[in-house]
Amino acid sequence: MSALDLGRGTPSSPRPVGAAGSGRSGPVRGAAASMHVDWTLCDGRGLCTELLPELLERDEWGHPVAVGQPPASRSDVTVPPELVDAARDAVALCPRAALRLRPLPLP
């Protein structure tokens, strides 16, 4: 699987950010998103924490910790609109392909 493949998922899973198959095409401008961390893949390389210092810190073993998010949102990190571009870079550049960007679930 490619890190750019944001469109993975099953028919009834939430629609991926961006048009299916177009890889890098962006989310709806101005909309917040949700960044999913697959902890089984994450190795704590730390690239995401450098690209998204406003959102992510590192714990003492190097793994990302979402700053100021409730526990339920620490694996599905809420990304404000102004950081969605940086989050898309983090998804694309994660050496472990452990990140995925999705639209925020409806409330």
Binding site: S13, W39, G44, E60, W61, P71, S73
Partner: protein, 453 residues
């Protein structure tokens, strides 16, 4: 077979309905595990209700999942059925046909209610499995359980002619083998460890197929609802939490939790109880003297402590909620008045750290550190930073795993600090509220781990 079946009585729908079990002895109403005793106690299985009718009945009955998470059973069946229908219903083929799995892994070391149920009432579980499969339109039904119980279920399958399609999958003896995504992995033939999920299993589970994983007690209860209906199901128990549930009560004898769990033949007593019974009554019914206790651990190793003053609470989610506890998988372990809650919790946390699937960094790294720091506190290390570090580490791992193992471990640890706050203070002062020799280890760690990083 030794039981005489009561005569069938006419039902309002014109057919005959077998009389329902009286009182709170429901799941164990059959005299023995044989098919004959099962039929004598419960009557024959019909799949007439399977489908939307059964889903509506389960909603009316208010049956929740008995594996620990309390998820509404009807919702899972409805979701799996809807997914199956969306993929073509009964005409769907191959990877579009749903799978139903009865989960009898029972990885909780202090639980043996599922094993007892499979030993004594395997046919009720199989009835539930077949009803669930027919309801969601599954083409595959699997019973997943431990090596010891596989022959028991095999023998039950051989007794009946309607379950030849049920396949058996072996559950390894690990804490996480019963986690729903571990179950899916095992059914797929992979190691039974959790996986990262973004879709519900009812949408995409075994081989991408809609998958319903239900605890075996949930299936047995489902089989009773299908036979005897909503009004009967709700005729015992608390209005908000009707019916019976199985509990495993152990401890109260001065042994540690892991020593209890290592008891040959299984720990504790399995009881069928209702939500109108207090914890005190449940503990007493299991032969444990509640006046000799300090606290009880409820829900399992991912559960929470209740001080002995809270024993008069009924065993319901609603009553236990303010304590951060829930009936969970029905585990109740009693800490005696001369036992140290910090020592018991440290032992459990060490076990849980060792049961990490070692896939997720925060769990793999954080739980052993958490167990180490809590262990120091329990053993009498008087470094004043220990309680704060326990809190920090429990908070650090929470919400940061692909399964809930770190969250559940943190829940137990937070509950420990709350329930045994006085013990923490005494330990730091070099004393222990529990009887026995008490801690005597001086602080060997002048600096906090991680400082100066």
């Amino acid at each position: 077979m030794t039981t005489l079946a009561p005569p069938p009585v006419p039902s309002s729908t014109g057919g005959t309905r077998h009389p329902a079990p009286n009182g709170v002895r429901r799941l164990f109403a059959a005299a023995d595990p044989s098919l004959a005793a099962h039929l004598a106690a419960f009557g024959p299985l019909t799949l007439d209700h399977a489908g939307p009718d059964l889903i509506a009945e389960l909603q009316g009955a208010g049956l929740d999942g008995r594996g620990g998470a309390h998820f509404a059973t009807w919702r899972k069946l409805a979701a799996a059925r809807a997914e199956q229908q969306g993929r073509g219903g009964p005409a769907a083929r191959g990877r579009h046909r749903a799978v139903v799995v009865g989960n009898g892994a029972e990885g909780e070391p202090l639980s043996r209610k599922d094993a007892t149920l499979l030993d004594r009432a395997p046919h009720l579980v199989l009835d539930g499995l077949l009803l669930a499969a027919a309801t969601v339109g599954a083409s595959r039904a699997v019973l997943y359980t431990t090596p010891r119980l596989l022959p028991v279920v095999e023998a039950a399958l051989r007794e009946r002619g309607d379950a030849s399609d049920v396949t058996l999958v072996e559950a390894p003896d690990t804490f996480l083998s019963g986690e729903a995504s571990s179950v899916v992995a095992a059914v797929e033939g992979r190691p039974a460890v959790p996986s990262d999920r973004i879709a519900r299993l009812t949408t995409s589970g075994v081989g991408g197929r809609p998958t319903l994983v239900q605890n075996v007690e949930t299936l047995a209860q489902l089989a009773l609802v299908a036979r005897f209906g909503v009004a009967w199901f709700r005729s015992v128990g608390a209005p908000a939490e009707p019916g019976t549930r199985l509990v495993t009560v152990s401890g109260g004898d001065g042994r540690s939790p892991m020593a209890t769990a290592a008891t040959p033949g299984g720990a504790g007593r399995v009881l069928e109880v209702t939500g109108t019974m207090s914890l005190r009554r449940i503990v007493e019914a299991a032969g444990v003297d509640p006046t000799r206790l300090r606290a009880v651990l409820v829900g399992g190793f991912h559960g929470a402590w209740l001080p002995v003053g809270a024993l008069d609470l009924p065993f319901t989610r609603e009553a236990l909620h303010p304590w951060g506890a829930s009936p969970g998988a029905g585990v109740v372990w009693a800490l005696t008045a001369d036992g140290c809650g910090l020592a018991a919790a440290a032992e459990i946390t060490t076990y849980l750290a060792g049961q990490s699937a070692r896939q997720c960094g925060p769990c793999l790294n954080g739980l052993p550190r958490l167990a180490d720091v809590l262990g120091r506190l329990a053993r009498g290390d008087r470094a004043t930073w220990l309680p704060g570090e326990v809190t920090r580490l429990a908070g650090l791992v929470t919400g940061r795993g692909s399964c809930h193992h770190p969250d559940g471990t943190a829940r137990l640890v937070f509950s420990t600090l709350q329930a045994f706050a006085d013990d923490v203070r005494h330990h730091l002062e070099g004393r222990c509220l529990a009887g026995g020799p008490g801690p005597s280890v001086p602080s060997a760690t002048p600096t906090r781990p991680g400082e100066g990083r």
